[in-house]
């Protein structure tokens, strides 16, 4: 047995360990990392042994794995940044689908089971029951995903043609399951937005009862 044959055997054995390790990963980020390591090792073995089909296959898989890992890490980074800054949900945009609305179109009805959230890109939209007009850049229905009843609390109607981006709760749940870190920050973000809404309501109530935010008495 010559030295190159021995190196090839040990190399294959070593790579097999990485292949097995890749398949044992439970979540997406470690799976991609081990996938990348396996790709690099197999390319390294395929070059000296002139095994070109393996070289081509892993030459394609390596950038794919790197891109998907980058996508996942960027998502976590953006959600994390959002939690610590303006609580915006802009990071969801790459996962959303654009949809055009005509005046009179209803995006959802009050009490309807909620299945997706919307991001307003252009046009004018009104919550029918409260008469509130939503501004461009508003996200609608993000808390419905976490509510136990999954019901819409108002009807959203388009009053001037425009575009919205939509993402189904199932898609967000998939991101959640694939990546626990994303899930953790998403929960933090949703809770922060909920507390922000409660704060706004408290201020509004205080304004109505005491005639101004400043007039609100200190609470215990």
């Amino acid at each position: 047995m010559d030295v190159s044959h021995l190196a090839q055997t040990f190399g294959s054995l070593f790579v097999s360990i990485f292949v097995v390790a890749t398949y044992t990963m439970k979540t997406m980020i470690p799976l991609r990392v081990f996938g990348i390591l396996t790709n690099v090792l197999l390319i390294a073995i395929a070059i000296p042994t002139h095994h070109y089909p393996t070289l081509v296959l892993h030459g394609i898989l390596l950038p794919l794995n790197v891109y998907r890992l980058h996508e996942m890490l960027q998502l976590v980074r953006d959600v994390k940044k959002s939690v610590n800054s303006d609580l915006s949900m802009d990071w969801l945009k790459p996962f959303m689908t654009r949809r055009s609305c005509r005046a009179g179109d209803v995006l959802f009805y009050k009490d309807e089971p909620a299945e997706e959230m919307f991001y307003i890109v252009s046009g004018r939209y009104r919550l029918v029951e409260s008469g509130i007009e939503l501004p461009v850049g508003a996200l609608v229905g993000e808390l419905g995903m976490l509510s136990p009843t999954h019901e819409r609390t108002q009807t959203l109607e388009c009053i001037e043609p425009g575009d919205v981006l939509s993402v189904t709760y199932t898609q967000v749940e998939e991101l959640f399951v694939q990546n626990p870190e994303f899930g953790f920050y998403f929960l933090k973000l949703a809770s922060a937005r909920l507390f922000e809404n409660i704060g706004k309501l408290e201020d509004k109530l205080a304004e109505q009862v005491y005639g101004g935010v400043g007039a609100r008495p200190a609470t215990a």
């Binding site: 009179g104 209803v106 959802f108 009805y109 009050k110 009490d111 309807e112 029918v128 009807t155």
Partner: protein, 280 residues
């Protein structure tokens, strides 16, 4: 081993259209006298599509059952009309009905007319949507197609079984999405009328009878319904169009549509809008 099989069934449930959810109970707020009818509707919807669809019916009905301003008569009407509209007549539903008749020993043979868009719309969305676009481009959407549903012969029964088996994929179809949006809009109009014009709630609920059957009858009724809602009911409930007797106007237009007189429906809607100074 069973749990592995269960996991794989779950993995492919979106493809196989499997629906193993629990059957819903009759909502608590439903009066005693209505409970058998609602239980019957739940069983019918379960047979039509599956437990999740029956759940959706119970959930929708519960929105009204828990309200104090909805009496037993109105709730009964909502329950009946909603069950009827949720069991819409697509080719799959008609095949299911013929097959059920075969099982009861009342096999029959009938021809039903559809528009091509009804047949294509019953296909799963990923397949149906591009086909619908293609048909729209060549102007074939309204093409009349006649289908024979035969429960008498062996070959006919096999065909019915095959057609009825497509119900697994029905909830992925374009028609399912549009029917779902229709029912939600109808319920939304009832909900708004209960707040803004309670006297018209019964008549608005009755408008569901305008939409029935398949083919031209269905499309004509649907067009009449949208004309009535967009031209009269919505502007009145929005406060943009003054109308003293909304209930009477809605009942009149519903009756005209059920007689099959679309022209008179359009005339009446136009007249009411003109009288209210809301253009034509």
């Amino acid at each position: 081993m069973n749990s592995i099989a269960e996991s794989f069934r779950f993995l492919f449930s979106d493809l196989t259209g499997e629906d193993n959810g629990p059957l819903p109970a009759v909502p608590d707020g439903v009066p005693e006298a209505l409970r058998p009818a609602v239980a019957g509707a739940i069983a019918e919807l379960n047979a039509y599509q599956g437990p999740s669809y029956a759940q959706l019916y119970a959930h929708r009905l519960n929105r009204f059952a828990r309200r104090r301003d909805v009496d037993a008569e109105l709730l009964g009407l909502i329950a009946r009309q909603m069950a009827r509209r949720m069991c819409y007549d697509d080719p799959i539903g008609i095949a299911q009905r013929h097959l059920a008749a075969v099982r009861c020993g009342a096999a029959s043979e009938a021809r039903h007319r559809f528009r091509l868009e009804e047949l294509v719309g019953a296909l799963p969305g990923k397949l149906g949507r591009p086909l619908l676009l293609g048909c729209a481009q060549v102007g074939w959407l309204h093409l009349p197609i006649s289908l024979r549903f035969n429960g008498c012969g062996l070959w006919g029964r096999q065909r019915l079984r095959l057609q009825a088996g497509l119900r697994r994929w029905r909830r992925f179809s374009e028609r399912y999405a549009s029917e779902r949006a229709w029912v939600e809009r109808w319920l939304h109009m009832i909900d708004r009328s209960l707040t803004k014009a309670p006297a018209a709630a019964m008549a608005i609920t009755e408008t569901a009878t305008m939409v029935d059957g398949s083919g031209e009858t269905y499309w004509r009724g649907l067009a009449d319904w949208h004309l009535l809602i967009d031209g009269v009911v919505k502007p009145v409930l929005d406060g943009a169009m003054p109308l003293a007797d909304l209930a009477g106007a809605v009942a009149e237009i519903t009756a005209l549509s059920r007689e099959g007189s679309s022209e008179r429906v359009a005339e009446t809607v136009g007249r009411l809008r003109k009288e209210a100074g809301h253009g034509t």
